[in-house]
C-alpha cells in the first residue's frame, strides 16, 4: 500500500512536470509546429496553433543549413573548451590562494560582465582586424569566450571556495603540487559545476548573434543565428524559413541537454564536501 502511494505520487509529479514543461516551452513547440505552415499563413489575422495547411516547403532548402549547423557546433564546443582551460586554473587560484587582491580581481572579472556587447563590438572589431582574426573560427571562439570565461570563473570560484581546506592539505601532504591538487582532487570534486560552466559557455556561443554579425565581413563563416537572420528582411520576412531553420537548431540542442543532464544533476554530493 505504501509503495503504491509513493509510486502514484511519483507519476503525479511527472504529470505536473510535463505540464510545466509544456507551458514554458510553448513558444518553442509552436516554432516547430509552424515550421510546417506556408509563409502566407503567418500573416493570417488569427494565429493558429496547428498549421491549417501542412507543407514541407520551408524545409526545401534545408540542406544549405548543414554547414552553418556544423560551424555553430565547432564554435560552441571550442568556446566551452577555452572557457574551461582559462577559467578552471583562475577559479582555483582565486578560491584558495588567499591573495590579498582577490577581491579586486573578482571585482574586475565581475565588471567585465557588465560591459554591453555592443560597446565591445567596435573596438574588438578593430583589434581583431589588426590581429587577422576576422572571418575565422578562432576569432569567434575568442569573442564568444568573453562571456564564458568570466562566467566559469565566478561559478567555479563559488563552488571551489566551499571545498574544505583539509582536502587540499591532504593532497599536499601526499606530495602533490598545486596543479596536481587541482586536477586530481579539486576538479573531480567540482565536476558538476564544471560541466555546468561548460554547458553555459556552450550555450552563450550557440545563441550568439552579435559576434557572428560583427566579426564576419565576407560571409565565409556563417553560424546558424546569422543564417536565420538572413531570412529577416527590411521590408519582408521569410517566417517559414526562420521557423524551419530554428527547428533544425533546436534538435541538437535538445539532444545535448538531455544527454549532458545527468552530469549536472550529480551535483556536489554531500560526501565530497563533508566538513
Amino acid at each position: 500500500m505504501h509503495k503504491f502511494w509513493r509510486r502514484s505520487r511519483g507519476y503525479g509529479l511527472t504529470l505536473i512536470g510535463i505540464a510545466i514543461l509544456l507551458v514554458l516551452l510553448f513558444p518553442l513547440v509552436w516554432v516547430v509546429l509552424s515550421s510546417f505552415q506556408p509563409t502566407a499563413d503567418f500573416y493570417a489575422p488569427v494565429a493558429s496553433l496547428i498549421p491549417q495547411t501542412f507543407t514541407l516547403e520551408n524545409y526545401s532548402s534545408i540542406s544549405s543549413q548543414i554547414g552553418p549547423l556544423l560551424t555553430t557546433l565547432v564554435i560552441a564546443i571550442f568556446t566551452a573548451a577555452l572557457s574551461l582551460a582559462i577559467g578552471i586554473p583562475a577559479a582555483y587560484a582565486l578560491a584558495v590562494f588567499r591573495w590579498r587582491w582577490v577581491a579586486i580581481a573578482m571585482f574586475l572579472i565581475l565588471i567585465t560582465q557588465v560591459v554591453p556587447g555592443v560597446m565591445v563590438a567596435t573596438p574588438l572589431f578593430l583589434t581583431f582586424s589588426r590581429l587577422g582574426l576576422l572571418n575565422s573560427i578562432v576569432g569567434l571562439v575568442i569573442a564568444n569566450s568573453a562571456a564564458g570565461v568570466p562566467f566559469t570563473i565566478l561559478l567555479l570560484t563559488a563552488f571551489m571556495s566551499g571545498i574544505p581546506g583539509s582536502l587540499r592539505e591532504a593532497a599536499h601532504l601526499d606530495g602533490a603540487g598545486e596543479w596536481r591538487t587541482l586536477f586530481s582532487v579539486i576538479v573531480p570534486t567540482t565536476r558538476s559545476a564544471i560541466v555546468a560552466a561548460a554547458l553555459f559557455s556552450f550555450l552563450f556561443a550557440w545563441g550568439d548573434f552579435l559576434w557572428a554579425l560583427t566579426l564576419n565581413t565576407n560571409g565565409t563563416i556563417t553560424p546558424l543565428s546569422l543564417s536565420i537572420f538572413q531570412f529577416v528582411g527590411n521590408f519582408q520576412t521569410n517566417w517559414g524559413g526562420i521557423m524551419a531553420t530554428s527547428t533544425i537548431a533546436l534538435v541538437p540542442a535538445m539532444i545535448l541537454l538531455v544527454g549532458a543532464q545527468r552530469y549536472i544533476s550529480v551535483g556536489l554530493t554531500a560526501g565530497a564536501i563533508k566538513d
Binding site: Y11, L25, F97, V115, T122, A146, Q261
Partner: protein, 299 residues
C-alpha cells in the same frame, strides 16, 4: 639579510601567478582594451568621419552633459531599473520554485528539467520570433488566451503602456532556466543530514526552507543575483529584435539607447557616455557584493 627560504617562496608565488596569467591576457584583450576605448570615446568628438581618418577632438564633458540633458535619458534609466528589478525578482522566485519541485526525484524528472533549459539555449532570434506571434496584435496566442476568460485584447508590443511589460515577460522566460540550473545545482550540495536534523527538531517544510535551504544556498544565490543583475542590465538582443526600444521610447533601455546613439545616430561619444552609466550602476552593485562577501569570509 633575508633567509634563503624567501627565494623559494617567491618562486612558489610566481608559479601560482601562472594560474591567472592566461585569464589576465585574455581579459585584457577582450575587455581591457574595449573598455579603455569606450572611456576615451566618452571625451571625444568621435563620429563616422573619425572612424576612417582617426582624427577626433577632446570635448571634455560635452557628451555626458548632452546625454543628461536629453529627455530620453530619464525614461531609459527608469525603464532599465524596472526591467532589471522585475526580471530578476520574478525569474528568481520561479526558478527557486522549479528547483525545489525538481528536488523531488520522479520518473522523467531529469529529462524534463533538462528540456526546461531550452529557452536559454536557443538563439535569441528564435525566441523572439516565437514571442512576436504570441504577442501579435490583435489576435496572437496571448490575446486568444485572454479572450477565453473574457478579457479584451491587449496591444502587447504596440502600446507604450505594455511594451516594457511584454519584454520583461520574455526576459523572465529566458532567465528561468539560468536560475533553475544554478539553484538546483546548489540544492544538491545542501547536506541531507541537516534536513534530517531539522526534521527531528520538528521543523515544517517552510521552516526547513528558511532555516536550512536558504542559508546553505547563500553563496549560490549571491552569485546568481549579481550575475542576473549584470546580464539583465545589459540585455540587448531581445529588445532590439522585438521592439527596438519602441513604440516611441517606451521599451528603450540604456543598452539599446546606447546602441542607437552610436550606430544609428553615429554619435559614438554619446553612446559611450550612456554605456558609462551602465558601468557605474553595475559597479555599485558589484562593490556592495564584494564588500559583503569579504565581510562574510572574514567573519
Amino acid at each position: 639579510m633575508r633567509p634563503r627560504r624567501s627565494s623559494y617562496q617567491r618562486r612558489a608565488a610566481l608559479m601560482r601567478l601562472l594560474f591567472i596569467v592566461p585569464v589576465a591576457v585574455f581579459l585584457a584583450l577582450v575587455f581591457g582594451y574595449p573598455i579603455g576605448f569606450n572611456l576615451w570615446l566618452t571625451f571625444q568628438s568621435f563620429d563616422l568621419v573619425s572612424m576612417i581618418s582617426g582624427v577626433s577632438e577632446f570635448v571634455g564633458l560635452d557628451n555626458i552633459t548632452a546625454v543628461l540633458a536629453d529627455p530620453n535619458f530619464a525614461s531609459a534609466a527608469r525603464n532599465t531599473a524596472i526591467f532589471t528589478v522585475a526580471s530578476i525578482a520574478i525569474q528568481f522566485v520561479i526558478g527557486m520554485a522549479l528547483a525545489l519541485f525538481f528536488y523531488n526525484v520522479f520518473p522523467l524528472s531529469k529529462a524534463i528539467r533538462a528540456l526546461l533549459v531550452l529557452p536559454w539555449l536557443v538563439p535569441s532570434i528564435v525566441a523572439t520570433t516565437a514571442w512576436r506571434f504570441i504577442f501579435k496584435d490583435p489576435s496572437g496566442f496571448a490575446n486568444q488566451l485572454l479572450g477565453v476568460v473574457g478579457i479584451p485584447p491587449v496591444h502587447w508590443l504596440t502600446s507604450s503602456d505594455t511594451a516594457l511589460v511584454s519584454v520583461i515577460i520574455i526576459n523572465i522566460w529566458i532567465g528561468i532556466a539560468f536560475n533553475l540550473v544554478l539553484l538546483h545545482s546548489g540544492l544538491q550540495s545542501v547536506p541531507v543530514d541537516r534536513y534530517e536534523a531539522a526534521q527531528l527538531d520538528g521543523a515544517g517544510y517552510w521552516q526547513r526552507f528558511r532555516h536550512v535551504t536558504l542559508p546553505a544556498l547563500g553563496p549560490v544565490i549571491a552569485v546568481l543575483l549579481v550575475l542576473g543583475f549584470v546580464y539583465t542590465l545589459k540585455q540587448f538582443d531581445l529588445i532590439w529584435t522585438l521592439t527596438q526600444g519602441g513604440p516611441g521610447n517606451s521599451s528603450q533601455l540604456l543598452s539599446t539607447w546606447s546602441y542607437t546613439l552610436s550606430f544609428n545616430s553615429n554619435a559614438f561619444g554619446q553612446g559611450a557616455a550612456v554605456a558609462d552609466f551602465l558601468f557605474l550602476a553595475s559597479a555599485i552593485i558589484i562593490v556592495v557584493y564584494t564588500l559583503v562577501q569579504r565581510k562574510q569570509s572574514n567573519a
